[in-house]
Point group: C2
Chain length 455, copies 2
């Protein structure tokens, strides 16, 4: 058993926690990072599959994600463009359509409806203050309905409704009925608008990392050695006038401040004495994680490219919602990556890995032909049954949560400060948001440390 006395205990060794710890280190404060898993990176997880490393968690970076770009550059982790040349596929009600532009061919009425939708989103999103969406005009009304209710009330074409379903699954790994409309709009705000969120070039899926993103948290952790403790889930946080005591499975630490850098639902699993504010506690039980299973299949050849496909395929039925080319930067390991998102993830999580592999490869074959049935490797990661994530990508807000409890997202509870991508005011839900939240939490804490060392 380890343990000791530090200025700050950081809980969680994802991008948020490691960033916060590094800032504290820079300022000369002492700290320990307690991580429940046996690895760092959190919702970022790279794995060698055959000859190359692939990402089974977060994997993309796009324009305006400047925190991540700067960190990657500093640590010497390089990016390369996401492949997107060629035709895309849309499977709608089981019928496959091949298309080339940004959108599939939709009936003209659906196109008009989509334009209406876009205008409505743009107008609403422009009114959102990113640090407090609950203060936007009519926030109460927008937070009182699900995205599904808005969709059914506002849209009248099946094409535009399909579009909302697919983007909600792809971006929030949730169904439109699961989330508050105000939260959805806020997510668009934080992610620089719908186009940016769903695009490859000029969007959030523009580039990938050579060798996988997890290199970054691994390099950070190395810089912070020996102060990152793995396999150390935190059980209780006790505050007093003198300080705070954090009890983990790997020992007990005393500190002046704590940074909790894990998703709200996981922070709700810790026992707090005295209890958290009612608002913070309520928030923890009202931001469930989305549902996602991620698959990577590697092949001898990128046969879909040979046939003129980009590898992008979107479907409203079957096990996978979105599929992309996932070939390594050097072309040495042709690959596809695919996601069961939202309802599909919930449906397929209870199946066996073998059943899922069969279903996903059949789907690839339906998209790109029978060669898809014969990968060299197939890997998956079911984030829903990972006890230290409880789903991915991100905690989403149910109706009423933003307006009643949104203010508790970043409000410290005594000596406890909140970090993690869910607390970001830009790129919430993304790696970039996690880094932003780590910087913010470290600054918050540094301002309050009595030692003043390094500040």
């Amino acid at each position: 058993m380890a343990g000791g006395v530090v200025d700050v205990v950081v809980i969680g060794a994802g991008f948020a926690g490691l960033t916060a710890a590094r800032e504290l280190a820079k300022r000369g404060n002492s700290f320990v990072v307690l991580e429940a898993r046996d690895r760092v990176g959190g919702r970022v997880y790279s794995k060698q599959i055959g000859t190359h490393t692939f990402d089974l968690g977060g994997q993309w970076i796009g324009p305006t994600q400047n925190h991540l770009a700067a960190l990657a550059k500093e640590l010497g982790v390089q990016t390369f463009p996401q492949y997107h040349a060629g035709s895309k596929l849309l499977s709608w009600g089981g019928k496959i359509q091949r298309y080339n532009g940004e959108l599939p061919r939709l009936p003209i009425l659906s196109m008009i409806d989509l334009l209406r939708m876009q205008r409505s989103f743009n107008k609403l999103v422009s009114q959102i203050p990113p640090e407090s969406p609950w203060k936007m005009p009519k926030a109460d009304k927008l937070d009182s309905m699900t995205l599904e209710s808005w969709k059914e009330q506002f849209l009248w074409s099946s094409g535009s409704k399909l579009f909302v379903d697919i983007i909600t699954r792809a971006v929030l790994t949730s169904e439109p009925r699961d989330v508050s409309f105000l939260f959805f709009l806020s997510y668009l705000k934080w992610g620089h608008g719908l186009d940016t969120l769903i695009s490859i070039p000029k969007g959030a899926q523009q580039d990938r990392f050579i060798g996988g993103v997890q290199q970054i948290p691994e390099k950070l952790a190395k810089m912070l050695e020996p102060h990152v403790i793995l396999g150390a889930p935190v059980r209780t946080i006790t505050q007093s006038t003198e300080g705070v005591t954090v009890v983990s499975e790997r020992g007990t630490w005393k500190a002046e401040r704590v940074i909790v850098a894990i998703p709200p639902v996981l922070s709700g699993q810790i026992h707090y004495d005295p209890p958290l504010s009612a608002a913070r506690d309520a928030l923890c039980s009202r931001m469930p994680m989305g549902s996602v299973i991620k698959y990577v299949a590697t092949y001898e050849r990128a046969f879909w490219r040979d046939a003129g496909f980009s590898g992008e395929a979107f479907s409203d039925t079957g096990p996978t919602v979105t599929t992309f080319d996932d070939t390594s930067h050097d072309g040495g390991a042709p690959a596809l990556v695919s996601f069961s998102d939202g309802a599909a993830a919930r449906q397929w999580s209870p199946a066996s890995p073998a059943e899922r592999q069969r279903a996903v490869l059949s789907e690839f074959a339906r998209f790109f032909g029978p060669k898809a049935l014969h990968p060299t490797h197939f890997e998956e990661k079911d984030w829903n049954t990972d006890p230290w994530s409880k789903g991915c990508y991100v905690g989403v807000m149910t109706p009423g949560t933003m307006t009643s409890f949104g203010h508790a997202l970043r409000e410290p509870c005594g000596r406890i400060h909140w970090s993690g991508t869910e607390t970001a005011t830009e790129w919430m839900g993304y790696i970039d948001g996690a880094i932003q939240s780590g910087l913010r939490a470290a600054a918050e804490v540094a301002d309050r440390l009595s030692s003043g060392r390094g500040t």
Copy 2:
């Protein structure tokens, strides 16, 4: 540190857990009940205030709550009628109306609208299978919207909308925007309809218990001594082919089966190895507790009765939503009981007890005159900051939860069985439902115990 080997570990010493344990005892099975608090009773909590005992948690019993009636009778705990003679008060937008019938005077259009609402509820509720509301016709559609969305779409009068707001706060301690419309309808089903849920005579508030309800769990616990361990929060549950290991703060137990008799949100705080099914885990993060603070003020005289008031007062503004006469059975301790429900509880939880007392007594004075300002005693219980409840009365379902994860409410996860009022199929959210769930879980477990002792 205690610990040992038993047939069954029961987690939670509320009505559900104690009932389950008692059934196991009757069958000759060995067990231990692990309770996090330093008392039994869970969301039932009686306290001596002045000369008499009052309930700061659940307190009423009504017709068809046969499990509770039988248990109370067996244990010799007697009931007496909730006082309701006299005029009631409705404060609507700050303006007080005195009335005598079941409903306040509302504009005729509001009355017609309420009748429409009642018919609509009755029709929908009649189609709900109580064990699986997610299978009712159009369940998907009904679960995709909040009660607020339904209210705004279906109702057109301010009187009927006010009615929905007040009953949602009073019955679910939530705002209409917080809950799925399908869940709300299911709650009506489980509670024998809206009239039963909100009524005093012939309803869920018909009778009270002489000396407080907590006597019942206390008597049960006494019968189960020394197998009820207090101050023993459970941290981890590990399952293997041989059995299950439960690690608590008061020791480690090995058993064949576990009954988890706590609300879903609290069961989500335990660490499970192997992890729960994705569906069960998702359910735990999608059934937040309602928000409530309960107040009891005792007086020298029941001055409101003298003035012809029943003590019932309902308000859409201010700190309290519902108020009732709470005088002791013998008249020896005149009292009022009142609730901050939903948004009011959230607003008033951060205030100090003194601020709340001032606000609540001012409200009583506004209803019943200045004598209300001078109680002999004033007690409160903020359930929102109680770490072993995280709110009250009950876990509510957000949109999408019932149809996606409702099936996981009672589905065992290996050797783990689920109990607690949230798993009841009649009087879910009430003490009666807790008892039903304890009986059901005990029967489920008994069927599966290899020992077969006593079965």
